[in-house]
Amino acid sequence: MAQTNLEKQINILDYALSSLWRRRMKSLNVLLVFAAVIFLLASFQMVTQALSDKAKQVLVYTPEITVQKMSAGRQEAIPLAYRDKLARIFGIRRVVPRIWGYYFDEVLLANYTVMGMDVEEMPEGSRLDTTLASGRMPTPDEQGRVVIGHSVKKALDLEGRTTFSFFRPDLSLKAFTVSGEFSRDTDILTNDLIVMNLADARDLYAIPAGMVTDLCVYVANPKEIDTIARKISEALPSVRVLTRPQIQKTYQVVFGWRSGFGSICLLSALAAFVILAWDKASGLSPEERREIAILKVLGWETSDILAVRFWESVIVSGLACILGITAAYIHVVYFAASLFRPVLMGWSVLRPDLHLLPRMAAGDILLILAFTVIPYLAATVIPAWRSATVPADSALGG
């Protein structure tokens, strides 16, 4: 009995396949549109996941607490003297001064992020030099040495040379020599970054001695970040205190908001497709009515005809899923998600050329299946009930 039932399902599946083949142009059109919808959804999901993962991965290198001076709601230089006040707070392991700024290249219309910091002062485990692909970080007494990100190298066309110059505020030129490059794994943060020692950054931006833009605070126990941040706010009321979890949360919220917005647009496209599929499945051509009536006279039950429709939908949606997800993977890995880059990464003037590695967990695949295959099955099988109840006697004459 079980063997016969299995054989029956195989026969019905075989008939469903031949039925799809007979209407191959129609089936192909549905398959391609469905695959395109899944491709868009899966690409979006993959690129959002990849960006979030990457952000999480590289934010490990950011300081646990960043302290900035605020005046009239705007950031201004912070005196190095604050360093001593911070050092007295129990639980702080180290305070490292930093100059953080941007440099707009008017020739290339690119915006670089410049960071001046004496890397050797950073505590072990948080040091930026562990993120280098080649070379080394400049020491405090090495003048004009920099480490650059991937896009900076490309933008400055530094393939054949290692030197370049930037303008100081008084329009005099300051020359730099590249002493290292960041790894592409940290692209999301270091892509447009130029790191130099504190003295060079102070010279480039003409920041007076004894002043920096931020103080980077490293704590002894990461579980106490929030407590220490509160202590800093109490000790120095005029400063803004940014913690690493806050920055991480900001990144997640930004990607979450953007992907949410994108997903709503894509789900609207999916809904339109499902409505179209429902409409198509509800209407029966005279040939389809005739075929159903013939099958019923020949001993097919209504449930057998429904099973044919079900298998047809499973085959179409299964193939569309495989096609859509594969195309999405290729789109994200080999074409760097070029369709969604303007939506997800459209802030920088220097377009980040990220090397994304998509992550697709079983949960994500199930989510895509739930949002695509299940509505499609419902939209095609439920109206098929109406088709399957075509009376068998309509195959007979008058």
Binding site: N5, N11, S18, L295, L298, G299, D393
Partner: protein, 225 residues
């Protein structure tokens, strides 16, 4: 009696404004191994009677017993199961699916029975050879001649070795030669013990010597001249 109808009536859309009485008080018995022709003009109720005998729907009233099974009040699912085992249908215009191959068309009734592909092919080939159309097995049914199409339809009606063959106006779209050929095949089937009921108003059918009895239907009733 293999087919026994007593006081059978059929009313479509009963109780509604578009109610149609298709059959009234039909009494009919068909013995096993006989060939009966239901004769009458279009709209006389022949196809309705054939549909009741073919277990497509039960009568509105009266008793209908096909192969010792009472059809009245039998749920749709059981009617289908009974039809699968008992009835082979030959339709007007033969009703094959033109995009399927001849072999696929013939084996259609076997798919919901869970018959394995090898067994299906074996049974179909036997019939294809019997009706001399084995060379057309892999042709799409839409590309074969009318005579071959007729034999495909007969082969499909016999694939599950059902004891009763019902044919609905089988010669309506055939020329004289093919109509005669059809009746010869029916005669051969009768000789093998099949019970055959043909609905037709074609003299080539109802005047054929193999027909044991002709039943005239007029306005939904059996007409006794």
């Amino acid at each position: 009696m293999l087919i026994e109808l007593s006081g059978v009536s059929k009313i479509y859309n009963q109780g509604r404004a578009n109610e149609v009485r298709a059959l009234t008080d039909i009494d009919l018995g068909v013995e096993q191994g006989s060939m009966v022709c239901l004769k009458g003009p279009s709209g006389s109720g022949k196809s309705t009677l054939l549909a009741i005998i073919g277990c497509i729907f039960p009568p509105t009233s009266g008793k209908a017993a096909i192969a010792e099974r009472q059809l009245a009040r039998l749920p749709d699912r059981f009617l289908t199961l009974h039809r699968r085992e008992t009835i082979g249908f030959i339709f007007q215009r033969f009703n094959v699916l033109p995009e399927l191959t001849v072999l696929e068309n013939i084996t259609l009734p076997l798919l919901p029975l869970g018959v394995a592909p090898k067994e299906r092919k074996l049974r179909a080939q036997e019939l294809l050879e019997r009706f001399s159309i084995s060379h057309r097995a892999q042709f799409p049914a839409g590309q074969i001649s009318g005579g071959e199409l007729q034999r495909v339809a007969i082969a499909r009606a016999l694939i599950n070795n059902q004891p009763i063959i019902l044919a609905d106006e089988p010669t309506a779209h055939l020329d004289t030669t093919l109509s005669r050929e059809f009746m010869e095949i029916m005669q051969q089937l009768k000789a093998t013990g099949k019970t055959i009921v043909i609905a037709s108003h074609d003299p080539l059918v109802f005047e054929h010597p193999a027909i044991d009895r002709t039943v005239t239907i007029k306005d939904g009733r059996i007409h006794v001249p």
